[in-house]
Structures are given as C-alpha cells and as structure tokens.
Point group: D2
Chain length 340, copies 4
C-alpha cells in the first residue's frame, strides 16, 4: 500500500483524498488544513488523520470538536508520497520540506513547470514519470486540451491547434470571487500562457490559445480547432472518443446543450460531488470542415478532471502500475467511473 | 408494499422516486416522461418502468435506446397512489384521471390548495391526512416556513410572522430562466401569496410575507421574524432546532455564511444530488430582540425539502405509519439523513 | 427631411428613434408600442408621436397619461420609410403592410435575409442599397464581424475566418431571460448560422463561426482569427482600426480588460445610454502569428452597433448621402460620436 | 465659489466631481488618482486638474498622455473643502493631512462615524453640519433608510423599524468581486451594523437591520417595515413620497418590477451614467397592515444616492445655503433632476 498524504484539503485536495482512498493499492495517511472549517469536519467524518500547518492552532481545532494528528511536517514523514494541493503559488514553497525528508511529491497546475521539472498527463507521458521524485499534474484546462490533442494526433496527426477557453469565474462553493456581470479577457493578450503549458506535456504541438472568464461556476468550455495532417473521419473520431477512458461523449439525444444540464446529469448519475472526471465532448458539435479542420466543443469540470490524473501520477512515479492503460483502468474501476 | 407512481420525472419527481425507492414499505411501479431526455435515461438506469404521456412517441424513446412500459393511464392503473410532479398548473388537469381510476394522489405546491382540498406538512398536520384520497404537499418555501413556525409556536406561541423570501431565479440544471443581473420583486405587491399558503396548513397563524427573485441557483434564503407570545430563550430554541428531524442547524464554527458554501458542504457529505432535505437555520443568525422578537435566517433547498414530505404524505394517507414522528424517522433513516 | 417611422419602440427601436432624431436630414414622424410601459412614457417625453398596434387599447394608454396619435397603419402612411424594430420573427409579417402603402422599410437581423432580399452593412455594401424598397440591417454580431473582416480584407486579403461569439444572455434591462449559471452552446452544432449570415453581406468570405451564451448582460465578445492572403503588419492594422469610423481601439493604457469596464468607460464618457456604436477591438489582444494569422478580441454592444447602421441604411436607400463615407461621417457627427 | 477637491476619483468621487461642477456656487479645483487608468482619462476630458498620490509616478501619467497638476498635498492646499472618496478604510488616514492644512473635509460611509464625529443626511440633520470642519456622509444604504424613516416619522411617528437589505455584489464596472452564484449573509449575525449606523443620524429610532449580498450589480433592494405610532394613510404617504425631492415613486403603470428595468428607465431618461440619486419606492409595494404597520420595497442606486448628499453637505458645512430645502432644490435643479 502506497502511503499518500494530501497537503491542502480544499477543492482539489479533498477529491484526491477520496479518490486515493477508493483505490486498492494506496491509502491516505493524512490530510492537512490551516484552520477549522466545514472541510476539516469532512476530513474527520471520512476518518482521514488531520494534520495542521500551525500546531499552535491545535486548540482552535479541538474546540470545534476536531482531533489533530500532528503537524504538517509529521504528516510528511508518515507518507511515501505527498500530493500538494495547496493554493496556487503556495506549493512551490513546500519543495524544500519534501526534499528535506526525501519524499516524492506531486504539485498541481497552479505551480510552474519548474517546481517539478516534469509535467504529467496520464494519456500523454505516463511512462516518463517512472522513478521521478517530483512531478506536476497540469491544470484542468491543460489536462483537457492534452487529452483531446493526443487522441487526434495519434489518429491523424495534428499540425496546429487553436483553442479558446471560456473559463468559470468561481467554483460553485466560492462565495467571494467574481465576476458578477462581465466577460473578462484573462489575459487580454493573445496567445495566452495555456499553449506553452500544453507544450510542457506535448512539446511538439503547435498551439495558439486564448482565454476569458465568465460569470458561471459549473465548468469551463473549450472551443477547439485542429488542423489535421491527414483527412479525418468524423465517425471514427467519435468512436475513438467513446472508447477513450478519460473523454466522454455527450450524446445528442440527451438534449444536453449547456454546462448546467451536464452537471445536472452527473448529479443524477449519482457521481460523488457530481464530479465529471472525463473531458466532455459534445457529439453534435464535432465537425470536420474541408476534410482536415476538426472543430469541437468540450466542457471541463475544473474541480474534477485532474483528480484521476493525480492518482495515475502516484502509480506512474512509484511504479505501482506498468502502463497508463493499466493505471487508468484501475483508477476508473475503483471510482465506479461509468460512461456518461 | 405501497405501489407508487411518479407522474412527471423532473426536478422533484426524480428525487421523490429515489426517496420512495429507498423506503422499506413502498416501491416505484412507474415514472412518466413526455420526451426522451437525459432524465429519461436516468429512469432507465435506475430500473424505473418508464411510461409516456403520448404513446405515439414510443418510437422516439425506443430509437434513443429507452424501453417504454406503456402509457400514463396504464401507469396510474398499476399504482396505489400517484405523486403528481408535473409542472406547476399542469397537475390540476390530471385530477379527473386519478378520480376515474379511483386512485389516491398527491400534488405539489405549484398547484392551488383547491386541487386537493387539503395541504400537507409532516410537522404540522400529519394525522389529518389519514384516509384522504387527495392531498397537496405545499411548496418548498411554504414547507420551510411551516416547519420553523410550528417549532416556535409550540415552544412560545407565535403572535405574528413577518418573512421575506429571497428566491433563486432558476434551478442549477436550468439553462434558460433568468434573471441574469436583477433583483425582481415577485410579486411587487406586499403581502405576497405565500402567507395565505402557510395558512392552508397553519390556519391560525398571522403572517405577512414578501418575496423577490435574485440571480442564483442553489437555494432560497428566508429572513424570518416572529413576535412570540411568551419571552423566548435563545439556547432553548437552538436545542429545539438541533433536535428537530427536519430542521438543521448550520453551526458557526463551520464558517458557512452563504448558500454556495452550504451546498458545497452537502456535496462533501456525500448527500445524493447534494440535497438538503432539511431547512437550514444559521446558528449565528438566531437572535431574540426585546425578549419576544425572534429573528433568523434559514436557507431552503428548493429541489429537496418537499421530497421527504411527499414520502411522509404517502404514509399519512395510506396509514402506513401511525404518527408523524414514526414516518419522519422511517423516511430519514432510509435516506441515511444524518445531521448537517 | 426624410420622414421616418419606427415600428417597435424597444431596445433597438428607441435608440434608432433618438439617432434619427439627432440627424439633420431626417425626422421621426412616429413610433409604435403595443402597450403602455415605461418605454411608451419615454416616447412621450421625447415628443415622438405614439401610435399603437391595437387601437382598441387606446384607453389603456390614455389612462396612463399617454396621448395616442393613431394606429400603426396611420403611422406607416405618414412616413417615407419605416424602421421595423419589432421582435425577431414578428417583422416579416409586416411586409405586406409596407407593400400595401408602397413604403420603404428596413428590418433588423432577427429576420431572415429573405424578408428584404438585401442585407446591409455601411462599411461593406452601402452603394448597393440605392433605390431599393426593402433592406435588412444585419444583426449586432454580424455587423461586428463584417466591419473587421472588411478592414482586413481590404488591407491584406482574407482567406479564411474562424470566429467564436461569446454572447450575453439577456440585455441589461431584461429581468426574465437567463441563464443564471451556465455556458449554453447556441447552437451546439458547428458551424453556427452566423457565418452564412456574414456571407449575405460579404458573399466571397470563407468563414466558420461558433456561438455560445453566458450569464452576462453588457456586451458580446468575439474571438476572431483570420488567415490573411498576404503577411500582415500589426502596427498598420492598429492604425487602420484607429482610423476606422466604426471600429474603436480599446487602448492598453486604460487598463480595460472586460466588458464591464468598457461599458463603465462609455458611461463615464457621457454616451447616451452608455452606448458603444463602434466595434471595440482590444489593442493588446491584436496579434499576428506566423506572419499571416491575425487574432483579436472585439467586444460588441448588442444594443447599439446596429443603430448607426440603420441611420446609414436610410440614407443609402433614399440617396440622401452619396457615399458610405459621407453618411457615416454625418451619422457620427450628429451623435457626437467621439473616439473611445 | 467654494473650491472643492475630490480625493479619490473612483465610483463615488467621479460622480461627486461632476455634480459639484454642475452647481453654480462651487467648483472643482482638483481630483486625485493613484495610477493612470480610464478614469484618469475621464478627469482629463472633463478638464479637472489631476493630482496624484505618489508624485514619483508622474512619468507614468504623462506617458499615457495625461497632464499632472501636482501632488495630493498641493491639491488640498488649493481647496476650501475636500470630499474624501478614497476606498473604505483609507480615508481615515487622510484626516491628519486635512488637519495639517486646516481644511474642511467630508468622508464617505465606508469610514466609521468617529472619523468625523458627525454623520450627515440632508433630509435629517442639515442644520447640525453648520460650522463643522469635518463630516461624514452616511453610506448609500443608510442614506436610503434615513430618508424614508424621516418621512414616516414626521408624518406618523415611527416606533420600530425592521429592514432587510439585499445588496448588490459588485458595481457594474467591477469585473473582479463576486459572488457569481450565492446568497451571502453579510453579516450572518442579526442585527447587522446598519441599524446603529442609521442611529448616528437619527439617534432616537429603534431599528433592527439584516443584510445579505446577491449576484447582481445594478442596485440594492430594501424591504422596510415600520411600526407607526399613529394609524397611517396609504394615499397620504404616497403623496408625501411623490413630493419628497429625494425619494422617487416607481409608478405601477410603468410595469417596472425589478432593478434592471428601473436602471433601464433611468438610462432612457438620459440621466448621466443612468444615475438614480433618489431612493426609489415601488408604489405597488407600499402597504399598511393592521393600520399601523407600514411595508414597502425601495431600490437604492449604490453609486448615486450619496452624490447629492455630498453636495448638500458642502453647503451645510460652509453655510452656502440656509436650509436643507434650499440646498436640495439647488442641487437637484443644477443636475436637471426631474421626477422619475
């Protein structure tokens, strides 16, 4: 059993902890929190040992009825590998601690590629993670782009990608961030940094990205256009997507045309936290123009798609699964991840 | 086993079907749908026999891979009791059909009191439902008001209620309704119709209500002020709420101050569809001014709080439980309804 | 003086009436409304004779203190030309009336090209409108696309256009339409109908468009990518935009990065109704990749950009100005349309 | 001519500057800004001398084409009185500077009462401002409450006020603040601090307030309930409101039922920046229950209602008008403030 600690039990961390906990070859030895909150209560209810960043706040936790297992440093020592899910920009500062105790660590996409020197995506570079001490699972948007680009590239060759990301302003549980009523160019410059981020995983892909933020909470939406090297076949691509364990096909007959309806469907399916771990390509949007231009819309659940990548990354680094296919199958099976 | 049909498998109907299905003394014999959709697919996945309003559309369903059990009339005949969860205003037209086949039926709060001549709330008038052919479960907002007013009235006597309802504009899965950026007085006149609707359940309560709609999807928020007949004790009321099986207390130490955080917490708890069947009173808001004026904020999950009331109403009408307390305990236990 | 009637005094109609009224060569002889409302009150305050669709409702208007000049048919007879700004789909039904009285008419983009057989944009086909009885001013989105495509095509030749439109869900004054929290693919299919609509004005342009709706009210946002025939020069294009009387350049040093800030700026400028009649290209977004791929973001004020096109179209059809340049200058000058 | 400086040319400051500039007895001698932005450009266009907080940034402004008149300290010296419209909490720190130069100053409601020791509202305590060096114009919400409470108190005596404020999350031009999809209790405790803030102006009023934030930008909405000392007459109160120069009556026949429609109406009226300087009481909401309980909805434009109060406060402190009535009439007339 691989002993996993989750440093930062927030939007991503709590999901990674639950996903790890559901696997047969790994277990949670601790999660960390900076202050008592409803998320700390959830850690207690799940039975995850709760470690805290500032041990002087132990009383605050205990007064709220929460048992403290120790400090974050103690948690690190108890683990084989740490999933660092602290807020973007904070994680880099933890590297010295992981090095000090000689532990493996995985960062999230909010950190720069340089924090680990290796950026991971199950579908693209699983084997390259083997034996590394450090890795970074790319962001939700980059993950979604990598999956579909890899699929198209293997089938037809991809000469150029142009992608626009229409991003959610805040997560559903976030009552502070906006915008309330605006479309925000983020960044206002073209191209955005997302293209180079895809290239940390797929260095040979020529890609131009653009991004904006809109007042919604449920999912991001991607407009993806790819120039293919060879003429593509729509039905074949739809089959490849349907067969891909990390890309779902939103069927036309469901009548689903929005992120709201898609999340409702995930909720109806009984998915934990209504999570969509797969990229969701809209069947009716997929189109090939002039033989070699592929267009599609895909929705990305920002809270969920990287969760399964973290589980795979643990296996890739520790050698607990031999291939991406094997790990992905194990991860999905443990989560009861059925097709949407 | 009480044979239950759910006429209208939408936002409320699908939840009632799942809640009925979880009980030990009742079962789903059928649900109805007007056209193939992602919700019809969910009915299939759950194994609920799928009946359709217009049998001439059978082909449409079958082409989408859904098996049709028959017409709605056939479903009615197979049931002991029908939960009518068709859209507001549609249900009244179904009464003749239920009468024709001599079946019991329960409508939702979108219909007028007169459709059934009896309006139900588990906490207030369970015993009065016994032996009736028809009943109406009051709306989500009225249900929430009835629960807290009844609690306060039993403890201290309620002389007057003033309540403002800040309502969500659309359900989370609804991608059409607004508003996008407005506070809408609905109605612009004061008092609103919600007070008289409370009086269909609690006829002796003096109540003035006001209502508006805001651009959010997760929950309604109520500002409730009650003039008490006798001086109230804050700690006692908090205990009564904590002990009430249908009212939850959002504890101050959770840090939850918004509907978004509250729904996130329900999601983290693993509640199906993140549902909050209980009214959610904010502990830190509850206040007694000048000894006899009680104030509080409560959040109401518009998709969920009436679901458990429908289950209780089935028992109340059929005599399957002797008391409200017994039925509520059965309903809650079957759902694994733990305290928030 | 060209006598202009505005049939439908709503979001577009009231703006066209004010813009026409500001010109020196045309005047408003009447506007129409179906029921008394705050917009009808505005017509009264402006001194526009108020005609009503259903003369039997005359009492309703008079009881609200509004003077009724007559029926819509009487208004048509009093005019030389009618701007039909009735809701999308309604206008087509008015064609017979305009024909009956032998009047010229202009429809909006909510109607099909076939209603007039000629679709108009000042920058593209002013001269072709001369002498026509009927014309259609294309929609706000199509207008915005036509302006920038024409500019690029004249400068470098446009081989292909790929454009994504992120559309506002409702106008600021609309308290009913949604969505509240969703990204809605509208349509879910690719390409959308907007490309062919551009081709009603610019038939030789190869264009693929995609569209979605988001929960905001202020403006649409376009992501435009054009394959140029000849290598483009960024500075030259920026100069062309700055010099174009119908395209504005949102300067980088203003710090404006969103539709909300842009509308605030228009409001601060003292523009009537904060209207942005120009397409608004973000200076910092304009980028040329690989020499021949032009990218940019432009924001489109859905309530305003077609208003000035209607004024120009009146002149184009009636021959009141000899060239597009002359008409555009007259229109802009009359509105005090200074550079953003 | 009273020489007025506006320290902080943002949402409130830019409006105060324009309103002061429109008066016949006062003039703008300078406005301040911390960095070049679209608002600084507006100051230039208006011809307001532009002073900057950090004179070392002079180059930044000049490079963006903006002329810098000097430092904020120089601006203070050039003025008779300063309207401090810096962000909430910043203004208090400027008091020493105003004292150093012996200047009069007015703060906004984002500062505590103690910053000035006197809180102002034109309708309530104009005369008490005479001769003071410092005053604070209360917040937009407190201003709106004071106006209507004063009106009711003078007519019938007010024994108790219960008011709920449903507040906008962000201003229309603010693309950062949220929430996107939540009702946020702010504060979660009852009563909120707004009641005591009303008492800084009207110390004898018994008032309980509650407040929340919702995802909208246009206006706040107040639910006001007052227990009257003497039986009230609805028609008389409506007349008093119609006659009050700072409270507007939203007539039923306009069909306006939301903040969105109300702002649209202000926009159609040609109000600068669509500003509503008056509190907006909805005629159809005003209701008297049991003879002595007054209920009403009023909408408050958070960006505008305090603007005219600042102008009056300048006159009250400097003695430029003898009475509130005289000043209010001057202010309104200069703005062309006609009845909504």
């Amino acid at each position: 059993m691989i002993k996993v600690a989750v440093n930062g039990f927030g939007t991503i961390g709590k999901r990674v902890a639950d996903a790890v906990s559901a696997q047969t070859d790994m277990e949670i030895v601790g999660v960390s929190k900076t202050r008592p909150s409803h998320e700390a209560m959830i850690a207690q209810k799940r039975g995850y040992p709760l470690y805290i960043a500032d041990i002087s706040k132990k009383d605050q936790f205990e007064n709220a009825g929460m048992k403290v297992a120790g400090s974050v440093e103690e948690m690190i020592q108890a683990a084989d590998i740490i999933v660092d899910a602290t807020p973007g920009g904070v994680g880099a500062g933890n590297r010295a601690m992981y090095e000090k105790f000689g532990k493996m660590a995985i960062w999230q996409g909010g950190e720069d590629h340089s924090v680990a020197g290796f950026s991971f995506n199950s579908s693209c570079n699983f084997a390259d993670a083997r034996g590394r001490q450090f890795a970074r699972v790319v962001s939700c948007n980059t993950t979604g782009l990598c999956r579909i680009i890899k699929l198209a590239d293997e089938a037809y060759g991809v000469k150029k990608v142009r992608a626009t990301m229409i991003r959610r302003g805040a997560d559903p549980g976030d009552a502070k961030r906006g915008p309330v009523d605006a479309i925000v160019l983020n960044p206002v410059t073209i191209p955005s940094h997302h293209g180079p981020d895809v290239q940390t995983v797929l260095p040979d892909i020529d890609i131009v990205t653009m991004a904006m933020i809109v007042p919604t909470t449920f999912m991001h939406m991607h407009v993806v256009q790819m120039d293919l090297a060879n003429a593509g076949d729509k039905d074949k691509i739809l089959r490849l997507i349907a067969d891909n364990p990390r890309i779902g096909l939103v069927k036309g007959y469901t009548g689903i045309k929005s992120t709201a309806e898609l999340k409702e469907y995930a909720s109806d399916l009984g998915r934990p936290r209504s999570d969509l771990w797969e990229s969701c390509v809209f069947e009716d949007s997929l189109s090939i123009v002039d033989g070699k231009e592929l267009y599609l819309f895909q929705a990305i659940h920002q809270e969920a798609d990287v969760v399964v990548e973290n589980v795979d990354c643990i296996r890739a680094m520790t050698g607990s699964a031999a291939t991406a296919g094997e790990s992905v199958a194990m991860t999905n099976r443990a989560l009861g991840f059925e097709t949407i």
